[in-house]
Subunit: 536 residues, 2 copies
Amino acid sequence: MSDVVCSTFTIGWFGEKKSKRELKVNCFYTEGTANMFLRPIDDIKIHVDLDEMRVSQYLDRKITTIPKAEGTEYRLSHMKPPLGPRMNNRATVTAEGPGFTLVGNTVKWANWEFHLAFDARVGTIISLASIYDLEQNKYRRVLYRGYVSELFVPYQDPREGWYQMSFFDNGEYGFGRTAVPLEPLTDCPANAVFIDGYLANEDGLPVKTSNALCIFERHAGDIMWRHTESEMPGDIREVRPEVSLVVRMVATVGNYDYILDWELKPSGSIKSWVGLTGVLEVRPVAYTNADQINEETHGTLVAENTIGVYHDHFMNYYLDLDIDGDANSFVKTNLVTKKNTNGKTPRKSYWTVEKETVKTELDARILLGTKPMELSLENPNKKTKVGHPVGYRLLPGFFTVPLLALDDYQQIRGAFSNYNVWVTPYNKSEKWAAGDHVDRSHGDDTLLTWTNENRPIENKDIVLWYTMGIHHVPCQEDFPLMPTVSGGFELRPTNFFEYNPVLKVIPPEQVPWPNCTAKCVGFGVPLNLNGPAKLS
Amino acid sequence: MSDVVCSTFTIGWFGEKKSKRELKVNCFYTEGTANMFLRPIDDIKIHVDLDEMRVSQYLDRKITTIPKAEGTEYRLSHMKPPLGPRMNNRATVTAEGPGFTLVGNTVKWANWEFHLAFDARVGTIISLASIYDLEQNKYRRVLYRGYVSELFVPYQDPREGWYQMSFFDNGEYGFGRTAVPLEPLTDCPANAVFIDGYLANEDGLPVKTSNALCIFERHAGDIMWRHTESEMPGDIREVRPEVSLVVRMVATVGNYDYILDWELKPSGSIKSWVGLTGVLEVRPVAYTNADQINEETHGTLVAENTIGVYHDHFMNYYLDLDIDGDANSFVKTNLVTKKNTNGKTPRKSYWTVEKETVKTELDARILLGTKPMELSLENPNKKTKVGHPVGYRLLPGFFTVPLLALDDYQQIRGAFSNYNVWVTPYNKSEKWAAGDHVDRSHGDDTLLTWTNENRPIENKDIVLWYTMGIHHVPCQEDFPLMPTVSGGFELRPTNFFEYNPVLKVIPPEQVPWPNCTAKCVGFGVPLNLNGPAKLS
């Protein structure tokens, strides 16, 4: 029994008039491994009533398989040879310090200024993000507040013991509450600065999460912009290496690890990335080979006796953009094919854009990928010198449609995944896309119900809600620990600036190697101090 | 006249029975700027007959606007204050050298081995890419050969002087021929190794492009995989920082710069990224403000007198995957919603997968985004221990549908953009998606015509052709030089390995700073040698 670990799982609502404050307890067998999630003890059903604080149901149905410990370990110290591949090391020196300043919770970096908060429910909150405009000689507001408002993870095994497995990781568990201390040099690179996070615990007392956030400059070897002019005489070539700033947090919600990055670029782009790693939720089976299976298993046989259950991750971002002021409009730029009626040329067709300012909430519900369009938030009250309303555009990342029936109980609660894009007028009580009390929700307080009011959204303080996600069909490579899958979206200035805001960027001083005047020690071999290597 | 530069542009085919070997000559005014492409001299039409080597048409229609030079310059040396933002510098030391070996054109890095070639038409060719499998103690083939087979850029102004503007940058200009020498420390980071490229010129003589390719390890601060185990006692936390290998090339085809990256990951993923930067193609207009416009301009007023013309970039990748051998099948994994007919649980629905091996070419033509599905190449003759055919999956990047009429002349030639995914049986004469002789093509030798044969593709040596692209609606930020927009796709092992291939990775030795024993000079301030910074 000392090798058994039990953990709590939310149950949610399945049509009961009044759902109880109940949790499910699932147990795992840890003998021989640190990877308990791959050794579930299936078919024991325990429910705990949280009002009465007692076991309300207990069912021990039958003796079933527990997948073996072999192959589930992931600690380097427990690996058996052969090991590999071996990774080359690298040291990074930001000679002038981390590249940004942090005063209180306000970060200043390059042309950006923003405030950073750590929240029990949503984790990282970026707010008051403003970018300095050289032409206007002032900071201009872009993002009033942005965070992951909810994460909905429905599993796709409808049978007893698994049908309730649909998690709302923010509202039920809390991204801040499940944030893990970041490990210097591995979770964040050498040039990272760490910030502790403080939360109130169940008793209202402050608790600290060390290294809850890290901030670092990313010098990934990308190119900010470049051009070589081959048609004109002279050696005309200008290249600007990309440097961006990343704010990172990791929430480990039980088995899954979510790496949450906000990335700000000097060009004005705000990117948000999520990396999915950690351990699969698995269901034990007697099968050891796919050839033995002739029933629906609701997942992939990822190892002997182990089904990695199909599931989705739908992540909703709350993006209260304030593009150069709080009164903004949501604009669809439709790309439309036209016949060429100009008889003077043999061209038969072309496409052009038709802009459409969205008036009310229902018209702002969008399933991406169905029609070619660009989506922007514009400030109709501010124009560039050549007359465009200033704006920011959403470049969607991995988005996907929900596959559950829209009237299924989890989907009613997770209705924010019905569409990829929603826009609402700002309302301080509408913070989280699946509502305030998610575990007990019957779906009557969600982004769907709010927007059913079809409120006006033109030239108002509006909020963009973006749902991205993936359907996860597990594969053997996800066992026993998943290599990161990542995706994200970008908010990109579009006629916000008069011209390329990094045209006049002062590039980093190019230092090929640290100019050490003595032997550099601590490495296996002497450093090459003579600039970039050239192999023959 | 000494400030006028003229350049050649392809014309293509517009329904003529026999199209002539003719080029169009467009001229630009370079007075006061290095950015000639933003000062086109419009409305002069010059055609040159290449067989007769004489001007076959000359039309100087009217006196029109030339956009002014002011604001078009992009050289740092020519910038007027205020400048900014200022970027922090960083030095990078890979103490044990570049991390890979290069023998001839064969690269060995981590668990990968591949051959690298530089081709006049397609630029970088990755071939014979194989990954070492610890379990099988051998290299296993993944990619027999991969490259960008064509890039189709149709502009969307159907009027005289512009209707022909539809470029096939590989077949008409050549990615290798337009490859530019990469600049150390800006185009590629300090730890990059450069390779020269050799091509035959028009006379058959060898010409060298210095630094045509660079190869570097990317340590971007990402996480390969991680897990913190909070439910079990003890401080169980394992994190592996991501390291990947990038092969880069830049093709500057006139105004546009294409950054072409192949990225290999120890997890078995092959990613390909393209970054779009450089200068817009613009058309002069008399307008100085959008309010003055009440006609179709076929583009965005990006600056006074300057229309950035709407256009697309469709990029086709030739991917001759050989998943653990050359006989492969193309498999659609459809995600399908089911009703829950199991009356024992209140769950109403779930999704599951239905796999479908594609038999012939027509069924392999796919427009992405229309149905939820995963796409894989599998080797039906090799199975994992638990019984799955070994495979690799395509994770699409930015894909898009064509908007031109399918019977428009350019679209007939660029028909590879009609679908995002195509699969053909390997045929050594089918190398480039728009055919061999692209400029003179009437569309009778393209991926569309080949696949019309509907040849069998099951359990054969097959080629995956993937078309990604974007519709580009220019904005003011693209003027006078576009900040990079990038996108790409991933080929990811899916039941190719028995388990996570980087489970036993040996992480890089974590060296926070180079351990300099003397004062490090050459920087503005002394180095912080005390590990990761912590700001208060």
